[in-house]
Amino acid sequence: MNNAPGPTIIMDTRSTTTRSVRFSINGVARDATIETCVTLLDLLREEFGLTGTKKGCDHGQCGACTVLIDGKRINSCLVLAVSRDGAEITTIEGIGSPDKRHPVQEAFIRHDALQCGYCTPGQICSAIGLISEGRARTREEIREAMSGNLCRCGAYIGIVDAIEEVLVALRGKPVP
């Protein structure tokens, strides 16, 4: 496919290349009948209206589309939705709420870890994945483990500060 803009294919009733899928998205069962070539990212945004997950590069190079699939952070732009049929998906819409923000969201606000905010849903999903992996501890390890999330505004120092603070606060406690 070239990079020319065009409609996202979700469902073409003439095609035989469709499938019914069911996901648990942010704890809610969601069904859809989709073209087999639809990515999880396009399914979330175009079919389910969950536009918190962002399309940046659409090629696994920027991390804006990061979601949690069965608890693991993954680029949703490179996942064929049919291939993950039945999975539990967590998107930014399922993380915290305006009244009760997730500790990572609180820390991002406190440390000014964003400017335009476009990469932030992916950053937050990725940070939550990093914390549950339990391997990054030092600032250098956090930077390395977050290298799959680009921020064109350059809020990297705030992002690392925020994640480091949450890691320190969580030491010895279960991951939220």
């Binding site: 294919i9 290349t17 490179l78 064929l80 990725s126 250098e140």
Partner: protein, 338 residues
């Protein structure tokens, strides 16, 4: 992305049979490379055979005390596995040097073996490319070739293999286990990938109707001397300009074993076992490492923009050998090179 028929294989035999019936079919595992290639119209499978239900997710001991890793084990699972960390830290380190945490959570062992080059001309369907469209030509040979091969290239293709994992597997001397209609065969990692020659469209010797079942690592002592040193344009999340995977054994200051593979320099992980033999019986000294690296790089040929790689590769090999010898392997989080 073009439409395709989608089939979820229920058994290894079904996947093999469907591959044999359909020349336009491709296997899908993690999808991190294939889906990207399909978006660019570089890969145009008419059928996708999804193998994610197949029982290929195990890591376990082989009969001879080595380690067997299933085709669908993710890169992250391999790198974080206790037996890999203790006995094959070179493999763990190389995997962690590659891609990003998100990609490693989806990408699989088999997908990593089968990933295609990142040559910009291969990816751009508006240009010629002998790998993508055999016989159309190679614009990289006289074009933008800063990232391209200095060893083993041909007139038809100067692309490099992009994997970090495979460079470590070449040094470790892993075996790829594959299955086809006639049964199972074991292919050494060194034989699995091929040089481009006149048929650069073939990255590996895997046949269309064969499926990778997994890899086997030979038995090895705990805590070997090793280092994986990767040099790239930015400190993380970039393909190698040059990388070196080193395994060393030293007894009383004398080298008893040296296995060294280079990444980013050829169409496959590059080894020269004849040169490695020359290190055995000699002291682990800078002078001996220099001499070895010069022999390793002696057949290197520069294109218009990648001549820097020859000296860079030479120095990377020497530094990685020194790191391995002193038991100070390159860390993949702290990027300072000691």
């Amino acid at each position: 992305m073009r439409r395709f028929e989608y089939l979820r294989a229920a058994s290894i035999e079904e996947a093999i049979a469907r591959l044999g019936d359909d020349s336009g079919a491709q296997l899908l595992a993690g999808g991190t490379n294939l889906v990207d290639l399909m978006k660019y119209d570089v890969a145009t499978p008419t059928t996708i055979i999804d193998i994610n239900d197949l029982p290929l997710r195990e890591i376990g001991q082989t009969a001879n005390g080595g380690l067997r890793i299933g085709a669908l084990v993710t890169n992250a699972e391999v790198a974080c596995h206790a037996a890999v960390e203790s006995h094959y830290p070179l493999l763990a380190s190389a995997i962690l040097a590659g891609a990003s945490a998100q990609l490693r959570n989806a990408a699989t062992v088999a997908g990593n073996l089968m990933q295609r080059t990142r040559c910009a001309y291969f990816y751009d369907v508006a240009t010629a490319c002998n790998k993508r469209m055999p016989g159309s030509g190679c614009p990289a040979r006289d074009g933008l070739n800063r990232n391209h091969a200095i060893l083993g290239a041909s007139n038809a293709c100067v692309a490099t293999h992009p994997s970090d994992m495979c460079v470590a597997l070449a040094a470790i001397e892993a075996t790829v286990i594959v299955k086809g209609p006639e049964g199972t065969r074991a292919i050494s990692l060194a034989e699995f990938h091929r040089l481009p020659g006149e048929t650069p469209q073939q990255d590996t010797i895997l046949r269309h109707d064969e499926i990778v079942l997994g890899i086997e690592l030979p038995p090895t002592p705990e805590a070997p001397r090793y280092s994986y040193l990767k040099i790239r344009d930015r400190l993380s999340y970039a393909f190698a300009l040059v990388s070196a995977a080193v395994l060393l054994a030293i007894d009383d200051g004398v080298i008893s074993m040296a296995q060294v593979a280079l990444g980013g320099v050829a169409h496959k992980p590059w080894r020269n076992t004849a040169a490695e033999v020359l290190l055995v019986g000699r002291t682990a000294s800078r002078g001996n490492f220099d001499q070895f690296a010069s022999i390793l790089l002696s057949p290197a040929v520069a294109l218009s923009d990648n001549g820097y790689k020859i000296e860079l590769a030479r120095r990377t090999v020497v530094r990685a050998l020194e790191q391995a010898a002193s038991r100070t392997p390159q860390l993949q989080s702290d990027k300072r090179i000691h």
